[in-house]
Amino acid sequence: MVTACKTTFRLQWKCHKHQVLNFLRNLHCHSVEGENVIDKAKKYICLIERQGDHALFIYSSFKSPCKTEADLFLQDVLPIDGELRVVTEPPRDKAFGTGSILLAFQVKENKHLYEMSESNVADSCQKKIKEAIDLQTQNAGFGLPSSFSWLDKYRNEIKGNIARESKVVDNSNPFSTDVFDPLRYMNIDKSVQLVTDEVKMGFEDDFSQMNVQNNDTNFQTNMKKSSSKDSLDFLDGRETEFTESLDKMAAKELGLKPGTNMAAGLKPLTARETLVECLLKKRQSEYVNLETFRVFVGTWNVNGQNSTTLEEWLSCDKDPPDIYAVGFQELDTSNQAYIFTDSAREPEWQDAVHKSLHPKARYQKVKSIRLVGVMLLVYIKETHVQHCKLIDTDSVPTGIMGMLGNKGGVGVRFSLHDTTLCFINSHLAAHQEEFERRNQDTQDIESRMKFKQFLPPLTVHDHDLVFWLGDLNYRIDLDINEVKENVLKGALGKLLPHDQLYRQLHTHPVYKTYTEGEINFVPTYRYDPGTDNFDSSEKKRNPAWCDRILYKGVGIRQIVYRSHPTLRISDHKPVSAIFDAGIKVVETKRYKKVYEDIMKKLDRLENDFLPQVTLAQKEFQFKDIKFGEPREQILAIANIGQVPVTYEFINKLEEDSYCKEWLSVEPYTCVVFPGDSIEISLEVNVDKTIAYRFNCGHEKIEDILVLHLQDGKDFFISFLLLSQERPGSLDNVDVLAEGVRLYACPKELFRLVDHIWQYGRHQEDLFRQPGLKTDIHQIRDCLDTGIPEMLPGSIHSVAEALVLFLEALAEPVVPYNMYETCLECCNNYFMCKQAMSKVPDCHRNVFKYLCNFLRELLGEGKRNNLEIRYLAQMFGDVFLRQPPMSRLSSGKLGNARRHLARSDDMKKSAFLYHFLAHPYDE
């Protein structure tokens, strides 16, 4: 039931906003409904992306194999929305071949089933489709509904197609309409053209949708209103560059070229870039040196106070650090802070930090980010700036409803040399008993923090070194007096086991990978502002180590961990830690060596895995080509490489078919597996449409076919056709010009005519019944060799041989150059005769000879039933042939052209009619 005819063709879609993500080729897709295969036509499924929405375009083909886009028409469009489900299942029916899978798209109750052969292409397509569905679900989850209004015009297109289709189907008699009705083809051509046109142009019509999207983004920014980001100019510049290149990057990611998007067989460069990156990382140790960088990390809950000078906190050490990460909480506790993006406190505190950085070095800000009251500033020594790259930030609110920014975390990440660093500043849920809530907050921040300039976005875990600081708000589960007593005694070690975070660090999964240095400072919360005295207010809050610094990563050594009690404006004391961190610094020379080595290996791999085949033969000679006798030779292809090879005969430039009409290649494309070989049948058939070329004085016909291996090389296959070289052969020379030297007309013609006259003039249905193929071959050989003397075969065969002989003449009986003239004057016998007088003698003689012969046959009309109109029509077409490459000669007949052809046929028969009705005298 299912024919396994394979086909490949390349589509080049010129579309801008529609990105053709994947195109299923080589697939046998059949619509299936219920248990019945209802439509066995080959289908092509195209995954199209437009502004983040995806849709499946299902095309049907008129022809098999489908070679051009014109054979395609759009049959269905399935938007990938919430209603589409994709199921793959093995075939249930024996009707489907083994090694095939069924792909089912379910839209509400309707199930669209497509069968496709199991292949990598099919796999990757399914994957792409599933990805698109996932993306859709994700977007819908974020409240970004897809409208798919852009699909409407295609749906209309389909309606048109179906209407036309059903019209054709309505006709019960398949012959009642001409199967090759040019109108039908024209229409369809147009519709496909239309589709592509719209694809080409349809990139301005979605402003409505764009607005919707804009609103969405506004909505999102509203949600996060109270946050801000800023950074040094030079870093900002880099950021915009990231965003600008989004489209390009995405296109590159998919292996698409800007502008022309679909390129079959194109290996995306990104694939190699990703691979190189991965291999480089693996061999990192070969080219990096670990260098120690000093990192200062500080955190302070400032309780909404105005800024103050911070030297005691930030630059109390002898040596300047290389990196500063300074976090604040409760920077702005005013209600406005929730509503407005800007906070006056932000620049104020930033300024304070900047002024208080270590005086012995110059610093540049890497990035700062604030979420309501939670702010993180990262500075780096000016000398390291050029090695500090790929900076990104994100913030995660965890406050009321998990949305508001009164609590939450902010993060800054960047790469320094070959090491990635991430700093998180968080302010977790308050209150003594809420430690589980705090764990949850940390978990939320960690999982929701995404650095989105990366594809896929980076998470906290993706970094070599992570520093987690902030007002984590964990308390000490002891009686307040006991705490205070121990603090006074300096017995901090007794308190620590009761510290909530201390316990979580060893038990809760979210903290398991983090380390904290030993705490040797008194709890930093809660003080009466302006003093070093613990909370004396009515609430009498338990002193606690709220403000903490955690870290993780290989090569971090903590130098100090301390608080700074002399800063008294807040109810918290600032905390700081100093680390020596091992940063991987690339040694350019060694790096280059490794890089080049990787490239070399990849090149070798790529070249080794190129498709490789051997051909048994690259030149084909067909000797003694005979008219109307097909001949076959075999081209054997053996796959000697390591990968499956898809071969395909491809068109040469400016040619619209991969081979000439006299050659057929089967199969013209196929997959050959390593170690396998396949035989391609090459069949040459010289029929009357091209026999004249041999007759035009050429003794041979040559052609070269291009055999292309997908993703690999091309072979040239040469063809040489030689005809029989005996003189007088049917297909050798211009018989008319040649023959006239010997006889009044060519001897072959004479023999045929004479034979018909002698044995067939009384034959009923002469020229109406077809001859036998075998007879005709014998007749041809007899004409060529002169043996036997009498022409073999039935009289009908001889009659057909005469017609074929005339049709195969290089120059028709009425020469090409007279064709138009003769048609123009066909209504006037006198002018027709005048036209004939301009014809060269040899041609005119033959014309006269044949006309006389036909007229005499008509004289026997009573017995052979011949009538003048029939002969005029039949031989008019044979005597007058349209010149090659004329307006009518091209293959596809349009409506107008068909009309023209019909009127030409009438003119031809009118022309000849005169000469059959009247004796031809000059």
Binding site: F9, L246, G265, K389, V586, E606, D656, K713
Partner: protein, 213 residues
């Protein structure tokens, strides 16, 4: 839609991006086109290199200081009978090496006609290099170095005498081309295999024009 950024290398863009270019070799048959490629790509040399009937395809990467250039090399058939098929391969190429044999004056003449054809028919900014191969056979030299160099200068071609046998100047000529190729943003737009398939849109237009007249 949250995907704003593009793919980024976590390690920084130190090694720069990989730019892909299509390079085609042209020249009379038996001047050593395939041998040059084989030497460049695999470091090998075969005294009796089989004649190329078709177009061989290999890739090779050249690392420059700031960028990496990946060549997609199309080594074409040199025989005259396949001449008409050459445009399939040089069309869309960003670079070409026209090869002649220094021991054969005719091949130099043929090289000149290839250069002319490229200048007329190939992409206007194609980088063309002229390679006088078989430089190891200088005792049989028929084409003077100065003559070829003069011609190359007039036509602003890169020029080197090479020897696939001794490897002389083989890497160098590819390197010189890699350096000369514009790297601005063309990495993506360049790396394009020839599209040997039917150009459907073009074809449609053509047939449309045909039927209306």
């Amino acid at each position: 839609m949250s995907q704003r950024g593009g793919a980024q290398r976590p390690n920084g863009a130190a090694q720069g991006k990989i730019c892909q270019f299509k390079l085609v070799l042209l020249g009379e048959s038996a001047v050593g086109k395939s041998s040059l490629v084989l030497r460049f790509v695999k470091g090998q040399f075969h005294e009796y290199q089989e004649s190329t009937i078709g177009a061989a395809f290999l890739t090779q990467t050249v690392c420059l200081d700031d960028t990496t250039v990946k060549f997609e090399i199309w080594d074409t058939a040199g025989q005259e009978r396949y001449h008409s098929l050459a445009p399939m391969y040089y069309r869309g190429a960003q670079a070409a090496i026209v090869v002649y044999d220094i021991t054969n004056q005719d091949t130099f003449g043929r090289a000149k006609t290839w250069v002319k054809e490229l200048q007329r028919q190939a992409s206007p900014n194609i980088v063309i290099a002229l390679a006088g191969n078989k430089a190891d056979l200088s005792n049989k030299r028929m084409v003077e170095y100065e003559e070829a160099q003069g011609y190359a200068e007039e036509n602003s071609l890169l020029f080197m005498e090479t020897s696939a046998k001794t490897a002389m100047n083989v890497n160098d000529i590819f390197l010189a081309i890699a350096k000369k190729l514009p790297k601005s943003d063309s990495g993506g737009q360049s790396g394009q295999r020839p599209q040997p398939g039917v150009r459907l849109n073009e074809q449609n237009q053509a047939s449309e024009g045909g039927c209306c007249k």
